[in-house]
Symmetry: C2
Subunit: 702 residues, 2 copies
C-alpha cells in the first residue's frame, strides 16, 4: 500500500513554483531531480509552466491524474487539495504544510482510502525513487553525482522530526553510509513511523533502519512490526527522546507525541532486539557497522595500530564496552612476528608500527589475513593515519581482497583526523572508517548485541497465545485473601505454608506440621485493622501457639464484641533468603509488563529493576535475572552457594503468564520474594494484587 | 629552566637534510618555518648548505654554539652528539631518535645540567616559538596562514605518545581550539610530562592543559605540579590509559610506562581537580569549553533550538550528564514569547523555530540576551543549522556583542552537519561550536566540575604537615591486640566496649557495665586458634556470663593444659547499623590511600568503593561518603532516619591522619564499621592492621 510513495506511476506537486530557491520551487525541483523516472506534474492556479514544464491549474486537469500528490500550500487550503486529490484518483499524499484542520482533512479523505504522510513534516526521499521534500540536505544530495553502488546493505531513516531525519541523512552520507530512503512523518495524522518501517522491511531493499522517535503513535503495533524486522534480520537502531523530564517536555510541546514510560520502551526494545542509542555518532556508527559487516557475535577484538598510544586507547574503550582484547596465543604471535618489527608488539593490541603502512601496506594486510583465519578474535579495529591523501587508494589492491574475503568485521580508524577521501575510499572497497575509538567500540558492541539477539530470536520457543483467564470473576479493588489464594494456586506461586484454624488445638497441630516459628492472624470479616485489634502475633514458637491463639481471640472480642470471628490464620515465618521483588504493572502504551527488582532499599537506591513484556520463557527470565546489577549476589559471593535461579526464573515466567492471562489484574506485587540456595526454591512472602474491570477502567499512565 | 625549549637564543638541527619531504629535512624546515625568530643552524657532516642555509659540520663549529639542539640522527650516534652539545654549551636537546643507549647518554650528559626531551618522541611545537618535530600535523599547521588571535585562553597538549599528541593537536585545530604548545615526551629518559606541565603553568600563557599519559614517571611529583595548576586556575584534562587490562598491556609494551593502579590515579585526579576523559571528542570539547568560557558552576542549562526534536535530544543528554534543564518561570516565558512564535515553545527547551534565525537572527539574540540576565539558568546550548555558508557571518554583528557580554557559557551546536566555516566564525567571535549534543553535555559538565573543584580548592583548610608517628615502635607483621588498641586510642577509633577479666565475678561486672549481649574470648599467648579451643562464646546474655566464663576457661585448659591463661576478653556485641568499610592501602605510586566502601557483599558486587589520599578534611570526607553509589541509604530511605554522616566523616578524616602519620602501617581495615542514626555515632566492629618496617620493605604494587 505504501508503494504509492516509493514507486508511484506519477506525481503532482501542488503549490509548485518557479523559483527553486524558495521552498515550493525546491519541492518541485527535487521531485524532478530525484531518481524517479515517471512524470512529475506541477500544479499552479495561474502559471502555464513551472520551471519550464507544463503546469495544470488543479489536479483534475492532469490527464490520468497523479498517484502521489505533494502538497506545500498553506494549511487552510490542504483539505480542498485533498478533496481534489481523492476526486482525481490519487492514492497517496505528502502534506508538508502545517496548520491543517484535522477534522476537515479527515472529512476530505472520507472512505477513499487515500493515505498521507504529515502534516507538518519535511517529507521524504527514496534514493532509488521519488523525493517529496524541500530539505536542504536532500537538495545537496541530489545536486551531486550519485555515488557508485558499494558493497553492503542499505540504511533507511524513519524520523518523526523532519529536521533530525534529514540532519541524520546528511551526517550519514558524510560517514559513507549508503541509504535507501529517508522518511519524516511529522504529526502522523495518518501514517506513522511504524507503517514506514513495516513497508521498508517488507520491501526488502533496506538492511538497517535508523529511527528517531519521541513516542510511538500506536505502541500496540510495535511488537508486530518489530517481529517482522527480526524475522528478516533487519536491525533497527533507535534514538527515542524522553529519558529526562526535559526531553519529555520538549517532545510533547514539539509534536504532541507522548513519550510514554521510558522503562516500558526499554523493555520492548530489549525484547525485540531494537538497539537504543543516545548519541548521533553512536547511532550512525552502529548503523554503519550493521550495514557493512556480517551479523556475528563479537566478544573478542584485536586492535591493530601504527601508534602504540592509540592502540592502548582503543583497547581501553573496547574494555569499557564489554569487549575483550585478549592476549594472542604464543603460536599466533610467533606467526605475526614475521611482519611486526621488534620495536612493535604482537600481544594485542598489535603495534605494527608506522612501517606496516609506509612500507606499502603488505605487513598490515598479512597480519589481518593471518588473524582472519584465527578463532582467537572476532573482529578488528585497525588504527592507521588516514590524513594523507591517497593513503587508502595506494592500499586498495591489497585491502580490496581482504575486505571481500573477510568473515569478521574490520573497522578502520585514525588517531590523526582522517580526511574524507580516505574514509570514502574505504567504503568503496567494502570497508568502513570510524572517526573515534568510541565509535569503533559502539559499532562492535552493536554488532554483538544484534547477533546475540538474532540467536535468541531464531532459537526462541514458538509463542503460544494467552489462554482464557483462569479467574474470570475477580472483583475490582484490592483482592482479599481468598482471591490471591486462587491466583497463587492457579499460577503455582510458592508461598509460605498457611492454614486456617478454628480452635486452639487445630492451630497447634497446624503450626507443628508446618514448623516454627509461625505467625498468627485473626480472621474476621469485621476487623480490617488486625494489628490495631491485637489480632496479630509474630514469631510464635513451639508450645506458644495455644496461648497466642487464645490471646488473639480475646483481643479481637474485646476490640469489637460484635465481630464475627472465623478463626485464626497460621503462616510459617520463612527463613530469610536473597530478597527480590516480582510484580506486574500495566503500561498505558504496551500493556502488561513484568517487573523484577532487587529487594528492599536496593531497588530504589540502585534503581536495580528491569521490565519485560509477557510471555517470558524460563530462559528469557534467566537473562532478565542476570541483567540485574545485584545479580552477582545470586551467583554466590564470598563462598555462598549460588541461589536457586532456576526456581526464580520459573516463577518469573509464571507471573508473566499470569500478567497476560488475567487481564483483570491491574497490578500485582510479590514483595519480598525470598530466593534460597540452588535446589531450595523460592517463596513469595507477601502478595498484593489489585483487580479492575478491564472494560470499565482506563489503564494507568506511569 | 625549560625556557631553553620555548625561548632559546639559538637552535641547531643535527642531521638536518636538504629534502624537506624526508623526516630530517622536515625537522629542519619546520624549525625554520616556526614562529621562532632566532637563528636555526643546520648541522651536516659534509654539506656546505642545507635548504639554502649555511651548514656546520658539527656543533662546535657553530659560532657561539646553540642553546637548543634538535637531534634526529641514528640512535647510536646520539651520545656523541650530546657530548658535542655539552661541550659547545647547549642547555637543552630534543632527541627524536630511538634505539639510544641510555647509559651512554647519561654518561655524555654527566653533570653538565643539559636537559632533554625524549628519546623516541615526536618532539614539540611552541605556537609562539620553536618547532622541534617532523610531525605531519605540525607541518600542515606551519604551511598555512596562522589564524588571527581570538578571545579566550590557550590550550597546551602534553603527551607521552607522539602520535596521539600531534593527532590531538590536529583534531583540536579542526575544533577551533587555540593552542600555545604541543609537547610529546616519548620515553622520558630525562624530562617527563609533569616537568612540561609545571613549566607551562608557571609560564602563564596556557589556560588549559590536555594530557595523554600511560602512567606518570614520577607519581610522587604529581601533587605538587597539580597544586600549582590549581593555584593558577589552569584546568588539566587527562586521558590516561590502563583502565582495562589490555590498555595496561599496550602501554607497557609501548613505552614501558607502568600504568599504575587505575583507582589510585582516579583518587589523585579527583583530589586535584584533574578532569579525566575517555574519548577524543569529550577531551577536546571539555578543553574547548574550559578555554572559551568562564569557570563557573553549571547546574541548570537552557536549550534553545530551531528544531524541536533536536532540542529534546540535547535536553536528554544534559539530563544524563546531571545537568538540569528546568522549566522557565512564567514571567520569563512571558518575556520570551515576544520573540518566540506560538508554534514554538518557551518552556525549555526553548523552541525558537527556524524563523528565529532565518528572519535575521534578532529573535534568537534577544532570547539569549534576556536569558543571560536571568538567574534561572547557568548556561546555554543553542542548536541551529550551521550547514549554510555565511550563516554565522550574517549573524556576526548581532552575536559578537552577545558573546562579548556573556557571563554564562553559550555553546553552539547543529543538528545538521555543520560546515567548518561556521564553526570557525563562531570561534572568531568568541563563541564555540560543538559537533554533537554529547559534546555539549560533556563540555557543560566539565565546566561545572572544574568550577566546583576551584570553589573547594580555594576554600580548603590550609594543609598541615603530618605529625610524628604516635606509635613509632610498631613491630612488623599483623598487629596483635595490644598494638591496634594503641592505634585505636591514638586516633580515637570508636570500637565496642571491651574489657579483660581475670575472674568470673569481674567478667560479670564488666559485662553488666557495657550491656548485653556480649562476646567472651579466651586470652592466652599460647592459644592461637581460639574458636577451635572452645575459647569463644557469642551472644552471651545477662546471667549467663559466669557460666560462659567457666566454660571457656575449662575448654582452654582441656585443649592445652600447659597454656598460660591470662583471663577472658569481654566485648559488647554491637547492634547492627549501616555497614561500611574503611581502610588504608599503600599505593606503589602515590603512597597511602584511604578506602571507603559499602559494607558486606555490596563492596565487591557493586564495586561501591572510593579512594582518597590523606589528609582528608571532614568536609572532604563527607563528599567521599556521598559519592558512594549506596550513599542514598545513609541519607535515609523509606522513612529511616538519616545516618550519622558527621561521625562517619570524622572517622574517615582521622583514619586518613593515621594513614599519613603512621608510616609503618602498611594496611589497615576497619570492617565492618557500623553507622548508626544521626547523633548515635559509628563503631568499628573489627580491625585488622599490618605493619612493616618502611625502610626495609618495598611497597606492594596493586
Amino acid at each position: 500500500m505504501l508503494s504509492s510513495f516509493f514507486t508511484p506511476a506519477s506525481i503532482a506537486v501542488v503549490g509548485a513554483a518557479d523559483d527553486p530557491k524558495k521552498f515550493r520551487g525546491k519541492l518541485f525541483k527535487l521531485a524532478v531531480d530525484s531518481a524517479f523516472q515517471g512524470p512529475v506534474h506541477p500544479v499552479h492556479p495561474k502559471a502555464e509552466t513551472v520551471q519550464g514544464q507544463r503546469a495544470y491549474p488543479n489536479l483534475a486537469a492532469i490527464p490520468g491524474g497523479a498517484e502521489l500528490v505533494l502538497i506545500a500550500t498553506p494549511g487552510d487550503t490542504v483539505p480542498g487539495v485533498i478533496r481534489d486529490a481523492v476526486a482525481s484518483g490519487a492514492k497517496a499524499a505528502v502534506i508538508l504544510s502545517s496548520g491543517v484542520d484535522m477534522a476537515e482533512l479527515e472529512a476530505a479523505i472520507g472512505d477513499s482510502g487515500l493515505r498521507y504522510m504529515g502534516p507538518n513534516c519535511e517529507g521524504y526521499i527514496g534514493l532509488d525513487g521519488p523525493a517529496g521534500t524541500f530539505a536542504a540536505v536532500a537538495e545537496a544530495y541530489l545536486s551531486k553525482q550519485r555515488p557508485a553502488p558499494r558493497p553492503g546493505r542499505k540504511v533507511s531513516i524513519v524520523s518523526q522530526s523532519g529536521g533530525l531525519g534529514f540532519a541524520l541523512f546528511g551526517r550519514g552520507l558524510k560517514e559513507n553510509l549508503d541509504f535507501h530512503a529517508v522518511v519524516t512523518t511529522g504529526n502522523e495524522g495518518d501514517l506513522e513511523c511504524l507503517d514506514f518501517v513495516e513497508h521498508l522491511v517488507e520491501e526488502g531493499e533496506t538492511g538497517v533502519i535508523v529511527m528517531f522517535i519521541e513516542g510511538l503513535k500506536t505502541p500496540a503495533r510495535f511488537a508486530e512490526v518489530a517481529s517482522k524486522a527480526a524475522n528478516k534480520g533487519v536491525p533497527i537502531v533507535v534514538m527515542k527522546v524522553g529519558r529526562s523530564e526535559a526531553g519529555q517536555r520538549a517532545a510533547v510541546s514539539h509534536t504532541a507525541h507522548l513519550t510514554g514510560a521510558d522503562t516500558a520502551y526499554d523493555a520492548m526494545f530489549e525484547r525485540y532486539g531494537i538497539i537504543r542509542v543516545f548519541d548521533q555518532e553512536q547511532m550512525l556508527s552502529t548503523a554503519a557497522a550493521l550495514a557493512r559487516f556480517p551479523h556475528r557475535r563479537v566478544r573478542k577484538a584485536c586492535v591493530i595500530s601504527t601508534s602504540g598510544g592509540a592502540g592502548a586507547w582503543a583497547a581501553d574503550l573496547c574494555g569499557s564496552a564489554g569487549i575483550d582484547v585478549p592476549v594472542l596465543s604464543t603460536a599466533l604471535q610467533q606467526d605475526l612476528s614475521e611482519w611486526v618489527p621488534d620495536f612493535g608488539s604482537t600481544a594485542n593490541p598489535v603495534d605494527v608500527t608506522a612501517n606496516a603502512v609506509e612500507a606499502g601496506g603488505t605487513p598490515l594486510v598479512r597480519v589481518l589475513e593471518r588473524l582472519q583465519g584465527s578463532d582467537e578474535v572476532d573482529a578488528f579495529i585497525v588504527n592507521i593515519g588516514l590524513h594523507s591523501p591517497g593513503r587508502i587508494e595506494k592500499l586498495a589492491d591489497l585491502l580490496g581482497p581482504v575486505f571481500a574475503g573477510a568473515t569478521k568485521p574490520i573497522l578502520f580508524t585514525s588517531h590523526i583526523l582522517p580526511i574524507d577521501e580516505n574514509m570514502a575510499a574505504l567504503a568503496d572497497l567494502g570497508g568502513q572508517g570510524f572517526h573515534s575509538y568510541t565509535a569503533c567500540a559502539a559499532a562492535l558492541s552493536g554488532i554483538d548485541r544484534y547477533a546475540a539477539f538474532l540467536e535468541r530470536w531464531q532459537a526462541r520457543e514458538p509463542e503460544t497465545p494467552a489462554g482464557a483467564a483462569k479467574l474470570p470473576h475477580l472483583k475490582p479493588g484490592v483482592l482479599d485473601e481468598a482471591d490471591p489464594r486462587a491466583l497463587i494456586d492457579a499460577y503455582r506461586i510458592p508461598v509460605p505454608p498457611t492454614a486456617r484454624a478454628a480452635d486452639r488445638d487445630s492451630a497447634a497441630r497446624d503450626a507443628a506440621a508446618m514448623g516454627f516459628p509461625v505467625v498468627l492472624k485473626i480472621q474476621s470479616p469485621d476487623i480490617a485493622h488486625k494489628t490495631e485489634a491485637g489480632g496479630v502475633r509474630l514469631g510464635v514458637g513451639a508450645g506458644e501457639v495455644e496461648a497466642a491463639f487464645d490471646e488473639i481471640i480475646a483481643n479481637a472480642k474485646a476490640y469489637d464484641p460484635a465481630a464475627r470471628i472465623e478463626g485464626v490464620l497460621i503462616q510459617k515465618m520463612m527463613p530469610k533468603g536473597h530478597e527480590l521483588v516480582i510484580g506486574v504493572i500495566r503500561d498505558a502504551d504496551f500493556g502488561p509488563l513484568v517487573m523484577l527488582g532487587a529487594g528492599g532499599i536496593y531497588l530504589e537506591v540502585l534503581k536495580d529493576v528491569v521490565f519485560a513484556p509477557p510471555p517470558i520463557s524460563v530462559d528469557e527470565a534467566k537473562r532478565l535475572i542476570l541483567s540485574l546489577k545485584t545479580a552477582p549476589i545470586l551467583g554466590g559471593v564470598r563462598g555462598q552457594k549460588p541461589a536457586d535461579i532456576d526456581a526464580l526464573a520459573g516463577l518469573v515466567s509464571r507471573v508473566a503468564d499470569l500478567a497476560r492471562t488475567e487481564t483483570k489484574i491491574e497490578q500485582i506485587d510479590f514483595n519480598p520474594v525470598f530466593v534460597y540456595e540452588a535446589g531450595q526454591g523460592v517463596v513469595a512472602v507477601d502478595a498484593l494484587a489489585v483487580a479492575v474491570d478491564p472494560d470499565a477502567a482506563p489503564a494507568v499512565h506511569h
